[in-house]
Amino acid sequence: MIKKVLIANRGEIALRVMRSCREMGITTVAVFSESDRTSMHVRYADEAYFIGPSPSAESYLMIAKIINAARQSGADAIHPGYGFLSENAEFADRCQKEGIIFIGPSSYAIKTMGDKITARKTMVDAGIPVVPGSGVISDEKDALAKIKEIGLPVMVKASAGGGGKGMRLVNKEKDIVSSIRAAQSEARAAFGDDTIYIEKYIKSPHHIEFQILGDKYGNMIHLFERECSVQRRHQKVVEETPSPLMTPEIRKEMGECAVAAAKAVDYSGAGTIEFIVDDNLNYYFLEMNTRLQVEHPITERVVGVDLVKQQINIANGLELELKQEDICQYGHAIECRIYAEDPENNFMPSPGVIKHITEPLGLGVRHDGYVYEGFEIPIHYDPLISKLVVWAKTREEAIARMKRALYAYKITGVKTSISFLNRIMQTPDFVKGKYNTHFIEKNSEFLMFPDKHETKIEDVAIIAVYVDYLDRLNNLQMEVHSKNEKKNWKNCGRRLNFNRF
């Protein structure tokens, strides 16, 4: 049985994993880069190992350093979290070679699902619906032929892609060639691989994903869906479960489909099958995330399962105790991702020092974060500050609760998405549950300029500022005064002697 786990990650996810380890009586080992010495995951862990400079390529992404820390600490397992090495097949292989348990699927599953074209082929063979599209495109002529077959509009995608890079939407025939070239060059720059393929473009797409859990004995269940259509720049912002789009029939079908998809790669551990769903509830396999997702807590809340504990149990070689028929969705959960960014300025990242933080509390609120007052959010990593998760009996109550929690959540020092998220909760399309991945774009006016000009609240702001200014002026003048005294006095007093050590 696993007794000591090294968490090859940082930020909120490192803490989230450590919490479950602690509940299981498992010793936790943190790794940290230069700028993370004061990071909460180092403070929370039982042990901590320094692994190098701040850029992740020199620390969190260095397989040798992680393995070395695991060896030194005597950890019997490594949890990769999400991002960094979590979907790196080489790392999974290396762990196995070193006799360290990798808390995740086999390198075979990672590899198969990591390459989009292979994944697509595997799914087609397993009878899973995929978006109509091509295999690897050999040249521009091939592309033109394939596009004729599929019909415009289409998406040109990089096989090694992710995060929206190497993707181009083609609406008109005349743009085909230039789009392909742009996608290839972007893919080459980002992934060192310009392999591309073509897919039918789904017009009002919903991103709906299914959580699955499989053990090493072929038992596989799903834990229902998460609706992840609220996105900006292909990054999820708000997730909820159940999806307001779902019907019980489609949910059952898609759940079975997700289980079949995971079985097709002999998956073990926790994973996610992402689907793209159109307004008519046609669904297509999009990709599989062979790791824990950022948004896993909403599933944990409505099904009452600790997914990290399940991951560890599976890694321990235990059989899944949960049966499909025992799992049900109870109530409604929503997650908001709090980013250090400026929504009013094209979501530009806003690293910096947290001056002040008030965390939301109370009924139905789960908060997974890692920052504290005085902590400097480094420029080197993800801008995610925390995840705010609420649960309520109904979707309507969950939205009200999220607004209440966001009201109480205050951070100064860095810009955050808190008030932007609050506005999402008030957007009619969201309130009605009628939205797809175009939501933010479509509602940008409502989201960006929500409040009428309010003189009253301006005046209150002025009062605070002016009182603060005057009080500081007083203090400042006293200080200047004493500094001047010091300066002038320089050569005429005795100095206290003290030892620096």
Partner: protein
């Protein structure tokens, strides 16, 4: 004590009429408020006006500039005194002064696409800054000449630090 204060394109004339402990009588553009103002935490004010409870969080960017968070909105607020008025008028007069390219976010210099003396065209990218996995490209708006490059690739930069001087 009175000042002009700039908020949201509005210049408000603000005057403290009286103050006793946390009770402040203040006039803003002639409108009088009786406010109970307490700093409850560093930079966090609780303000009661006509029994309405307000929470205001301040971050000073310098002596006269504040970022203000209220529940519904964020504001940039500036205290205008004689000095800042002078600076402002000077800034407006002096439209030919040298331009500086800078980034509103802190980050790391990923790429510098120009060297001193280069003639760049409007829309050309000059420098790329990366923070938190996002790259931002900074371009020139008009045809310009690169006068000075103040950073090198790999440098960690502060927000609003001058990166490239153009003329």
């Amino acid at each position: 004590m009175s000042n002009e204060i700039n908020i949201n394109d509005r210049n408000a004339l603000v005057e403290v009429l009286s103050r006793e402990g946390n009770k402040v009588r203040i006039s803003i553009d002639g409108k009088k408020y009786d406010a109970d103002v307490v700093m409850v935490e560093e930079g966090v004010y609780s303000i009661l006006i006509d029994n309405k409870s307000h929470n205001i969080e301040l971050t000073r960017t310098d002596n006269k500039n504040y970022m203000v968070n209220t529940y519904s909105k964020s504001f940039d607020v500036e205290i205008i005194d004689a000095e800042s008025k002078y600076m402002k008028s000077r800034r407006q007069d002096d439209s030919h002064e040298e331009a500086v390219i800078s980034s509103p976010m802190p980050g790391k210099i990923v790429k510098i696409l120009v060297k001193v003396g280069d003639e760049v065209k409007a829309g050309d990218t000059v420098i790329i800054v990366s923070a938190m996995k996002m790259e931002s490209e900074y371009k020139v708006k008009k045809d310009r000449v690169i006068k000075e490059i103040k950073v090198k690739v790999g440098d960690i930069i502060q927000a609003n630090q001058p990166l490239v001087v153009i003329e």
